[in-house]
Amino acid sequence: MESTLEETTESGTPENQIVRAIGIERFYGEGEAEVRALDGVDVTFEKGIYTSIMGPSGSGKSTLMHILAGLDRPTAGTVEIDGVDITGLDDGDLTELRRDKLGFVFQFFNLLPVLTAEENILLPLSIAGKTPDREWVDLVIDRVGLDDRRTHRPSELSGGQQQRVAVARALVTKPAVLFADEPTGNLDSKSSEDVLQLLRAARDEFGQTVIVVTHEPDAAAHGDRLIALRDGHLVHDAPPVSADAVIELLKTLA
């Protein structure tokens, strides 16, 4: 299936591009022990597109996401978000970037145990000292189905509910890009389904740009675009066809 690798990973018009990564390399260690987590990756993401990133364990998915989100710095290459080169930014600017333009959902430990669900959702706004847009907040909370859980603490919520709070938190700032790294890795299949559906709905209903690392072929099949990594290289980039095709693809990569 090497043939599915497109000649160019450039897509869309420049003004439509929200994330641009060029020649990304990320090496760990030195000499014999050197690990090339990413070995020359060029990739661009468009506004309003739902992208799934797949690949075997250790292929560099998390590393790529961290670099795209400015959480990690590449060994070489540049990342632009909304036209701004972020590889040269200092900690303060990166913090501001994350605060204003990015949303995150991690695999676990998304929430502060001392805050209620609603407070957790509003956390990014509180950090930024912004007054929440009540209508939007209510809409988001309603959409993730947590209206009756607002005052609960994370310890009083199920894993799936906790992840839905995390999604709501990521959406509440209307970020330019929402990153999620295996957001369902810790959940049963029903809860996984709920969370992934939410992420897709964010794209469908709000036009939210979503980049999600996932191992669920079903979820990937419903996205706009599927990227696959192997050994730090981009080996597949195309709209998904069907769940079965995705499973086939994964088999060839493994």
Partner: protein, 849 residues
């Protein structure tokens, strides 16, 4: 398991090192105290041994009543002839050794404020212990020598003029010799030598000696000679061999120093007590964080005993290393303490630092035991971790919160503590055992509060955090939530600070009460506008000064007062004197039975007594009371009036005439004098005129107006207060270290949370502020509780003192400043943890397992 234990310890070396600080500081004070007092004792031993070199037998007068200044009565000179006639006496000579003042040509003292100065007489060469390292032995009426250290301190050399003050006017002398006592250090003390007749005249001891020194002929042993001499002298005279005399003097010093030892050890105890809270906290947190590890060990077959040993081993090593480090720090501290004492004018003699095996053993024992005891509860808790804990996702923190048990235990301790305190207060007993019971009571109450405090953390932190939340918004809220997240952790951290702050506020309130009470007595009972006292206020001064002052233009009356100790019914009783002719004009007493007229009418065989003495002896006006003097003589006085309490120690319990206190009790110098100015006279001008008149003949007398007197009293109280502050600072520092460690451990625990916060846009500055606020909340909780408890204790202790004229006053601004300073200390304590938290690598934090 040992290698695993060691690896574990190494992995937590920073945490362990911080924990050790809790032991180090307390042990340093323990070791430092011993080193300081041992060094001082050793130096005094050397002084006494060296000063009696060549003296086989020493003859002194017995003191039937111990005086507060340690002075003893003198011997009649006629005994010398009797001693010389005893067979086996090679040489016998009388000497005078009397407290006095040694001033340089500018009139400045050659010693520090509290350091005694002595005038002594020269002895025949065979008996003389001082070595003349420069110049010659004084031989004329105007020659004197001085110890070399004092001369160097005051930049004096041979040929310079100095003046000596005994019981009369200052007299000029030329410095002809510099002395040393075989290389022994005197500390801040200085000694001047003059010829015997000059010394007797300076001390007002014509025809008297303070000691007769005797050397034995070669054929007679000192003991034999001592027995022979005793036979020819009356029982009131003490005859000792040189060695016995040196030992007795050294014992007296040891006894005097034991107060210092106990006081310093008490502060060490406080620091260690506070340290035990810190140790408890660190081990509790560590055990909680290692729950999964312990569970894993249990699944692998480790027994409870092995788990217990793992934790206790760690605490043993921490305690041992902390104590060893503490001993070394203690050596430095001993130096530091003697520097502080020197700074306040009480330099102690010292040669090289003395480290006895006892110092090391006691320090190690205390340090290790305290660490083990403090970590016992967390250690026992670790044994209750079930193997299943290895598999559980969430880490169970700490033990169960047994509210009922806590409440009962703390209620019980409070009752016991309050009972102990109340018992002392009601029975009004004083002395060491009372202080011990009082301290035990206070510790009970403090521990009770600490045990119960987790229950209070939630509401209290909400209250303290409210302004921070208003100021800091989210960071304030998170800080408050974090401090409430683990109430017992916050409670123990705050409680450690609470103890130090309780003591700080207690002494602050007490000292302020003392100052204002003194002020009140001065305002209400001093009719005289001007006061004479010796510079520094601790020594007596020549009584002629009052006579001179009364002759000054514009003075209506000047009246002196003397103080000393006598005995009534075998009990030490303070005695003071008045000058009947003038007393009523300068002072007013609060009378129980009698009036100020009784002052004027007091005769030499009469006495006015305090209400306390009247009660204990069951006597009143018209009755007779038998009093024993220091020399052992007994005499009956007719009681004419009874003074009400309520004027602090303005008078002794027994008030007699000036004539009586000199002739019968043997006190010939004034402690203070009051001057009443003539109507219409300008007080300032009169004060200046008195100063002019007294300056030359009586350079050691200060002429103060009432305000200046209040100020000097205040200064003295403050000096003591600051010394206590310095010593308490140790305990406060330990509790601040507690805040630092607890914060670092909590941050470590919350690594992922912090990473997540950073990922969703929290800036480093916000993270720092959050940590800082948490520290401030903890600090203010501790300080607030401490202030309340300290003020309460001061209030309780002030009640029984009220009838002595002690009235509490509450220095609110000072207390507020203390609270603010503690909050700032919290900010300082948070600097490092906040930095650490803000520097966390976001990526590492979110992928942190």
């Amino acid at each position: 398991m040992l290698s695993l234990n060691l690896k574990n310890l190494w992995a937590r070396k920073w945490r362990s090192a911080m924990t050790a600080i809790a032991v180090i500081l307390g042990i340093a004070l323990v070791a430092g105290t011993y080193v300081l007092t041992d060094t001082t004792t050793q130096a005094f031993d050397e002084i006494f041994v060296k000063s009696l070199e060549g003296t086989d037998v020493a003859i002194t007068a017995k003191s039937e009543v111990d005086q507060e200044d340690g002075s003893t009565p003198s011997l009649p000179a006629k005994y010398l002839e009797r001693v010389r006639r005893v067979s086996g006496v090679e040489l016998a000579a009388g000497t005078v050794f009397t407290p006095g003042a040694i001033l340089d040509s500018e009139g400045d003292s050659t010693g520090g404020g509290f350091s005694p100065q002595f005038i002594s007489s020269t002895l025949p060469e065979e008996l003389e212990s001082l070595d003349y390292v420069e110049g010659t032995v004084p031989s004329g009426a105007h020659q004197a020598s001085l110890d070399k250290a004092a001369a160097e301190r005051s930049d004096l050399g041979l040929g310079d003029s100095i003046s000596l003050v005994g019981t009369g006017e200052a007299q000029p002398f030329r410095l002809v010799g510099l002395t040393e006592l075989g290389g022994a250090s005197f500390g801040g003390t200085s000694i001047a030598q003059v010829t015997l007749p000059v010394a007797q005249q300076l001390a007002g001891k014509q025809g008297e000696f303070d000691q007769i020194s005797v050397s034995a002929s070669p054929a007679v042993s000192p003991e034999e000679l001592r027995d022979r001499i005793s036979e020819v002298l009356p029982k009131s005279v003490r005859v000792e061999t040189g060695t016995e005399n040196a030992e007795r003097n050294a014992d007296d010093i040891r006894e005097g120093l034991s107060f210092l030892t106990i006081a310093l050890l008490a502060f060490a105890g406080i620091a260690l007590f506070v340290g035990s809270f810190v140790i408890f906290n660190v081990f509790s947190i560590t055990v909680a964080q290692r729950t999964r590890e312990f569970g894993m060990l249990r699944t692998l077959g480790a027994s409870r005993r092995q788990i217990l040993r793992t934790v206790l081993f760690e605490s043993f090593v921490v305690g041992l290393l902390g104590s060893v480090a503490g001993i070394f720090v203690g050596l430095g501290l001993a130096q530091g303490l003697s520097t502080i004492l020197k700074a306040v004018g009480a330099e102690l003699p010292a040669n090289s630092l003395v480290v006895l095996p006892r110092t090391i053993i006691v320090s190690l024992l205390i340090g290790v035991c305290i660490t083990l005891i403090s970590s016992l509860i967390p250690a026992l808790r670790s044994t209750r971790v079930p193997p299943i804990a290895a598999l559980s996702e969430t880490i169970a923190v700490g033990g169960r919160n047994r509210v009922l048990l806590r409440s009962i235990l703390s209620a019980l301790l409070t009752v016991v503590g309050l009972a102990l305190i109340a018992e002392v207060l009601i029975n009004g007993s004083s002395g060491g055992s009372a202080a011990l019971r009082m301290g035990a009571g206070a510790i009970c109450v403090l521990v009770a509060i600490s045990i119960f405090s987790p229950q209070l953390v939630r509401p209290a932190a909400s209250a303290v955090g409210a302004p921070l939340e208003r100021a800091g918004g989210l960071t304030g809220q998170l800080a408050r939530e974090n401090s409430q997240r683990n109430p017992s952790r916050t409670a123990v951290t705050a409680a450690a600070l609470m103890i130090g702050l309780a003591l700080v506020s207690f002494v602050t309130v007490f000292a302020s009460g003392l100052s204002s009470s003194v002020d009140k007595v001065i305002e209400q009972n001093f009719k005289g506008e001007i006061v004479l006292q010796s510079s520094g206020g601790f020594l007596d001064f020549p009584s002629n000064a009052v006579t001179v002052a009364s002759g000054v233009d514009g003075v209506q009356a000047a009246s002196g007062q003397r103080f000393g100790m006598a005995a009534v019914d075998g009990e030490n009783t303070s005695v003071s004197s008045i000058q009947p002719a003038t007393a009523a004009e300068v002072v007013t007493f609060d009378w129980n039975q009698g009036s100020d007229q009784n002052l004027t009418l007091l005769e030499d065989d009469q006495a006015i007594i305090s209400e306390g003495l009247a009660d204990s002896q069951g006597v009143g006006p018209g009755d007779r009371i038998a009093v024993q003097s220091q020399r052992g003589a007994e005499r009956e006085f007719e009681v004419t009036a009874v003074v009400a309490p309520g004027t602090l120690d303005l008078t002794g319990e027994l008030i007699v005439t000036q004539e009586t206190i000199e002739s019968f009790f043997g006190f010939d110098a004034d402690s203070s004098a009051l001057v009443k100015t003539a109507p219409g006279a300008d007080v300032d001008q009169v004060q200046d005129r008195i100063k002019d008149k007294l300056e030359k003949p009586f350079p050691t007398v200060d002429v103060l107006n009432q305000q200046e007197l209040k100020d000097t009293q205040q200064d003295q109280i403050n000096t003591l207060l600051y010394m206590i502050y310095v010593l308490l600072a140790l305990a406060v520092v330990v509790s601040l270290v507690g805040i630092v460690v607890t914060l670092i451990l909590s941050i470590h625990e919350r690594t992922r949370e912090l990473g997540m916060l950073r990922a969703v846009g929290m800036s480093r500055r916000q993270i720092r502020r959050m940590v800082r606020y948490e520290a401030v909340i903890t600090a203010v909780l501790g300080a607030g509780a401490g202030l309340i408890i300290g003020v309460l204790f001061a209030f309780l202790l002030g009640i029984p003192l009220e009838e002595d004229g002690f009235a509490l006053s509450y220095p609110i601004p000072t207390l507020i400043v203390i609270l603010i300073l503690t909050a700032l200390a919290g900010v300082v304590a948070a600097i490092y943890p906040a930095r650490k938290a803000s520097r966390l690598d976001v990526l590492e934090a979110i992928s942190y397992e």
